[in-house]
Subunit: 404 residues, 2 copies
């Protein structure tokens, strides 16, 4: 039976007009005020931003990807270097995923597209075989064949040493029959039990494990999967699997899943990170989110801005501006005059535009810093709004009406 | 007659056993303790490092390139944004070059190779014509023809607003007859007078101008050129032109040039930045150096280290280690245990090796921070050693015997 002597999830406040809540996750590397956003340091690094800068922007927790790290430099190498926290210089709470996401992503196409119900065919398929025992895949680095079992995933995650770890599941593709989704879910449940057993075998109190809810877009399967995870001694739960073909269906699926999950455990929504989706998520009780969106957007010149900015600029239904746009060439204002991030305190849109045009990598740092600060400020504002019962009004500050 | 009401060069101490000196250059944006190193922010950005990080590593002064900035975003655009200091968020002393370096570099091949006497033929030739009036060249961005006159260079540098500006000269190629070098030098002198006149026309006390010594590898021409710059009301002098075919000849040329220059003005050595060359330079009285070397080296995985490190590693005659080297894969030590930079305080060689292998751009930031700190620590140690008459002993701490 799994136990988590050094972990705790406290619900501090529950909203009355919706299912949102404020909580606190305690880990050996510090506490996380929830709802919180988890930033992706895929290969043990936030692209272009140091851990101390991430911390300075109010970041509570980051995640790294087991898939990438098991291939290079390898779990054993990181363990030898003192574990992931020490290796990458991040002393706060950290999560690793199971590795499954990338295997199935690179296998089926893009998981991001799968989650959103679009068929991705452009990516090279590197998933070779899924059996009851394991997933067999080719390394994205050198093409060599690797096998990932639930046990192996837990072993690597133990070597990495993140605070929060996740069971290995099959990330079921969207464009399959219900019967495939069901079989896949049932196998994921068996893999989850194997993951838990392996976790228990080496549990030294440094880690806590999350189960994953599957079941695709089918309410009865979601019910089965929620019943399953609730019955297992997980520390927390993550909502996985296909969330439907569009935002409306995603909202429905997340909504119904959250009604079925044990509310005493922290609940994570996998791979979702638009501002709109976050507001929808917190309202039904999601505690943590992760997504590459804010950091990836920055690398493409995008800066997250509040509703009034894109109303000013005549942009509807977007959550960001793109600094590559020629209109910013002689714009001496910061990205956001009201933003307190170091980028907005120092640099103009004009300068950021210049850096993008000149191909200067400093811009990745500056825009990522802004987007990270923005997401942390968003989550902080959301926590405050839940407490003050003003989530609907708060939402309007961040999102254009069209998206509300 | 040029005047510099807001600038000053004070010689604080002169060594007795060599020609090295300690000084202070006062500018409207602060003072520079000399000998000092100037880092290259070519396109108004240090590649991958923010101004505040540059400052935190002890940086006193940076430079930007007029050539790049006049083409994109343009001097006028930067002036409209409040000048280069404000545009890029650097509040300390700053220098701009004349633009000539890159025009002739891209024109003749690589100027770095020219300085070192090697013929560079691999680069696309974009210099179209040099006349008494101007240099005509093609933009590296869109191939359009541009003309740079001495007056235009000063106008753009005035728009940029750096503290220290430099006259336009022809960077004479190495593989030419003495007669070409002489004619080129004489034209550069006439361009220098035109530069001074244009400088005076708009002089508002915010800037001070450096003349450039030409004359190639010919002592009599160096004498003529030193006589010329000494006779003109420059604030400082820069040693330019071809410095010979190897390090020995370069040392000779710099040595004889420094004997001929007015010692009361600050003297800059253009484009030189190896540790060995810096020790040679300060001994004959060079006050400032600039080079892309420390920052470019970082982008290729190189970290500057003191002599004992490469003795440990069995590397001779080098000033850096390359973190790409497989031997660092499981090396848990920092680049340099005795280094106080934030990179060495936090990260292992193993982690930096991983980032390089994974193509994570964070490594550019981390290695550049180290190399910038290293160069500033070097210059600080050199200043102390000049004062304490221990430059020879200091040199041995930084350089392997083979290079001394």
């Amino acid at each position: 039976m799994s136990s988590y002597p050094n972990f705790k999830f406290d619900i501090i406040f529950k909203a009355s007009s919706h299912r949102g809540r404020i909580g606190q996750i305690t880990t050996p590397h510090g506490t996380i005020a929830t709802p919180a956003f988890i930033f992706c340091a895929t290969k043990a690094a936030i692209k272009g931003v140091s851990p101390s800068e991430m911390h300075a922007q109010g970041t509570q927790i980051i995640l790294s990807n087991t898939y990438h790290l098991m291939l290079q430099p390898g779990g054993e190498a990181i363990e030898k270097m003192g574990g992931l926290h020490k290796f990458m210089g991040w002393n706060g709470p950290m999560l690793t995923d199971s590795g499954g996401y990338q295997i199935f992503s690179l296998g089926h196409g893009s998981v991001a597209e799968e989650i959103k119900g679009r068929r991705g065919t452009s990516k090279r398929r590197t998933l070779k075989r899924i059996t009851e025992e394991a997933a067999e895949f080719q390394s994205y680095i050198d093409g060599r064949t690797h096998i990932l079992t639930p046990e192996k995933s837990m072993q690597v995650q133990h070597q990495l040493g993140a605070d929060l770890v996740v069971v290995l599941d099959e990330c079921t593709p969207f464009h399959v029959e219900k019967s495939y989704t069901q079989k896949s879910m049932e196998m994921s449940h068996r893999w989850a039990v194997r993951s838990l057993n392996e976790f228990d075998r080496s549990n030294d109190g440094r880690q806590a494990i999350y189960g994953i809810v599957q079941g695709g877009v089918y309410p009865d399967l979601r019910q089965d999967s929620c019943d399953f995870v609730n019955s297992q001694p997980f520390f927390g739960h993550a909502v996985g699997g296909c969330l439907g073909k569009d935002k409306i269906q995603m909202k429905e699926i997340v909504d119904l899943t959250l009604e079925l999950l044990d509310p005493h455990r922290p609940i994570h929504l996998l791979g979702i990170g638009n501002v709109n989706d976050i507001f929808n998520g917190v309202q039904v009780g999601i505690d943590t989110f992760d997504c590459v969106h804010p950091t990836r957007l920055a690398r493409h010149g995008g800066a997250l801005v509040k509703a009034h900015h894109w109303q000013d600029l005549g942009i509807k239904g977007k959550e960001h501006i793109n600094l590559r746009n020629q209109s910013f060439q002689t714009d001496s204002r910061p990205i956001d005059e009201t933003c307190e991030c170091s980028t907005c305190q120092t640099y103009s849109r004009s300068y950021l535009h210049h850096l993008l045009k000149a191909g200067e990598i400093l811009v990745i740092n500056l825009l990522t810093v802004h987007n990270v600060f923005y997401m942390n400020a968003l989550m902080s504002a959301i926590r405050k709004a839940i407490l003050e019962n003003s989530l609907t009004q708060e939402r309007k500050k961040w999102l254009h009406e069209a998206e509300n």
